[in-house]
């Protein structure tokens, strides 16, 4: 695991995420076509677009869940195109999933514990972790960060949808993340829970950047400084939230299209 100094040094140079000519095909279907995108360290960006625009595929190519059919993916300058997902996680990349992908048979605490263990040494240890181990403190901190203390020992399968979404975010914050990919974190949340989510995201340490996919423009535009619009697998427009909102083409294609 890298030290803070190393991370800051890395954060000062180059791009956090750089895609060059990335395409992804599913059989004859082109989900991503020649996408070139760069995101600076610490930058917070929204990726918007209608259903099927290729947003989630874009995230999957960055995390390695689906490798790109062509093109290269760099993470903090390092070519990670062919690395398996767990190797990218160890380099500080995190993600959440559109549909909650949690460990339903384990408690909230065990879920967060696994995420913390996953990016530390001893993840395959045969020795049980003591209650006074430093990692248990990080687990407790993350649980309180997403306001789940009251249900920490409940099975995840018993949690409400909103709580599962919050747990998704806790899992992505475990370890020392440098960059997080958030796939529709607000989907299915109540207005109150959305407010909590915005508070959690804006309170993240400033060196942690993220890409957020979000249909709820209120949430998305409040927590980012730049926006990438996608359409039919291509990048269609990039700019500041205000410019994108005001752009007539965008309004016609997306905001006016009944998706807003």
């Amino acid at each position: 695991m890298s030290t803070i100094a190393e991370r800051l040094a890395a954060a000062g140079t180059g791009n956090a995420i750089e895609l060059r000519g990335v395409s992804r095909f599913f059989g004859a279907l082109a989900a991503l076509i020649d996408v070139t995108l760069s995101v600076r360290p610490g930058e917070r960006r929204a990726v918007l677009g209608s259903n099927g625009a290729g947003k989630t595929t874009l995230l999957n190519c960055v995390t390695g869940d689906f490798p790109p059919s062509s093109g290269t993916v760099r993470f903090f300058g390092e070519d990670v195109t062919i690395l398996p997902p767990h190797e990218r996680i160890r380099r500080g990349l995190r993600r959440t999933y559109q549909i909650s992908l949690l460990f339903q048979g384990l408690s909230v605490r065990d879920n967060v514990y696994l995420a913390c263990r996953g990016c530390s040494r001893g993840r395959y240890s045969f020795i049980r972790t003591r209650a006074n181990d430093a990692i248990m403190q990080s687990v407790a901190d993350l649980i309180s960060l997403v306001h789940l203390e009251a249900v920490a020992d409940r099975l995840v399968g018993e949690l409400a949808h909103g709580q599962q979404r919050q747990l998704e975010i806790a899992l992505a914050l475990a370890g020392a993340p440098r960059f997080i990919l958030l796939d529709e974190p607000a989907a299915g949340l109540s207005p109150n829970e959305r407010g909590d989510l915005v508070a959690i995201l804006t309170a993240l340490p400033s060196h942690i950047g993220y890409i957020i996919i979000e249909h709820d423009m209120d949430v998305a535009l409040r927590v980012v400084e730049s926006v990438t619009m996608m359409h039919n697998g291509r990048i269609f427009k990039e700019g500041a939230p205000r410019e994108i909102e005001a752009d007539p083409e965008v309004q016609q294609l997306y905001l006016g299209g009944g998706h807003g």
Binding site: T63, D65, P84, P85, H86, I89, R90, R94, R95, Y97, L101, L102, F103, Q104, G105, L106, S107, R109, D110, Y113, L114, A115, R117, G118, C119, G122, R123, Y124, S125, F126, I127, R128, T129, R130, A131, N132, D133, M136, A152, D153, L155, L171, A174, G175
Partner: protein, 353 residues
């Protein structure tokens, strides 16, 4: 498929209270059971000790290796009986048997560790073959391995001595104890069975065991939080193979023989039945399943004849029992026990309030 639930104890709680008495209180059922099993030779005869309990503990161990993979890892491996078979055959080939042409007559302290090592390699190989598959495909691949090993032993004469197999493979004589005598043999089997049970129970709350349960619930997410799922699955197979391999050697020492029919497809299926009937959600399940199986196998014949039925129908009885358990309690006898105790606790809570 029943899933292992180990959430009653949050991580580390228990380690937090370092005093001894809460630990004893929590372990009371295990300690009591252990005490009964240790004192049993004072009252039970050799038949009960070896043919009932010895068999139960050995089958329980081999089924425990299946339970570890299936309950915690979500991988139903039918190759575990074959892993036991490999170590059982190897102890006959490398050690002592009635076949001087094949057996090497190496001392037990060379032959036994080597046999276990070879069996663990075989089990790890089975894991490497099936780690990228899920569900029915894992079952098919491991079943194919079990069938292949059965036919190999049946048709190979130079090493496995074909369908005759090996006889006269006694437990060794060391520390001044003749371990082939019924009572020492019972204690040896009890020691290894209790050790495997305790280690599996302990591992279920270790990072290795918790991560395995994570792999069971959601392999893709495990990749996304930094685990190498394939490597982890293979490591789990290797650990499970260790338990099955020790069980295999004990099985040969108890029976004094091994042949292809000790590891045939029907035995492989019986092992799965034992694990499922007992319950895949807790390591005690396989031992309960094995006890039910051994008792049925030993006494059902006489009981059936006594009520005027054909004694050979005892397999039907086992099959019916399996159907009933799977229909009414997908997590086996352990699941029935859990539901009953929860109901009792709920009723007690109502009365108390």
């Amino acid at each position: 498929m029943a899933l292992a639930q180990t959430t009653e104890t949050p991580i580390g709680v228990g380690a937090q209270q370092r005093s001894v008495s809460p630990w004893i209180a929590k372990q009371a059922p295990n300690l009591l059971l252990g005490l009964v099993l240790v004192l049993l030779p004072a009252v039970a005869n050799d038949f009960i000790l070896d043919q009932i309990l010895g068999w139960t503990l050995i089958l329980g161990m081999i089924a425990l290796s299946l339970m570890f993979l299936a309950g915690y890892g979500g991988m139903v491996s039918l190759a575990q009986m074959s892993v036991a078979g490999v170590s059982g055959y190897m102890i006959a080939v490398l050690g002592t048997s009635s076949l001087p042409k094949i057996s090497l007559f190496w001392p037990w302290w060379v032959a036994a560790p080597l046999s276990i090592g070879i069996a663990v390699l075989f089990g790890t190989f089975a894991g490497a073959l099936s780690a990228r598959t899920e569900g029915i495909y894992t079952i098919m691949i491991t079943l194919a391995l079990a069938a292949a090993f059965f036919y190999l032993t049946l048709q190979n004469w130079p090493v496995f001595n074909g369908f005759n197999g090996f006889t006269t493979i006694p437990a060794p004589h060391f520390l001044g104890v003749n371990w082939r005598d019924p009572v020492p043999l019972y204690y040896m089997i009890l020691f290894f069975a209790a050790l495997s049970y305790a280690v599996v129970l302990y591992l279920s709350r270790s990072p290795f065991g918790l991560a395995l349960q994570g792999v069971r619930d959601n392999p893709r997410r495990m990749e996304a939080i930094g685990y190498n799922v394939t490597a982890h699955r293979i490591a789990a197979y290797a650990f499970a193979a260790l338990i099955a391999a020790v069980g295999g050697i004990l099985m040969v020492w108890l029976n004094n023989q091994i042949s292809p029919f000790s590891i045939g497809i029907d035995v492989v299926i019986n092992l799965l039945v034992i694990a499922v009937v007992g319950g895949l959600s807790h390591p005690i399940g396989p031992f309960i399943g094995a006890l039910i199986y051994v008792i049925l196998r030993t006494f059902a014949l006489d009981a059936l004849v006594a009520v005027g039925l054909d004694g050979r129908r005892f397999q039907t009885l086992i099959g019916l029992g399996f159907l009933i358990i799977v229909l009414f309690s997908p997590d086996g006898v352990v699941g029935i026990w859990r539901r009953l105790s929860e109901r009792a606790r709920a009723a007690g809570g109502r009365n108390g309030a």
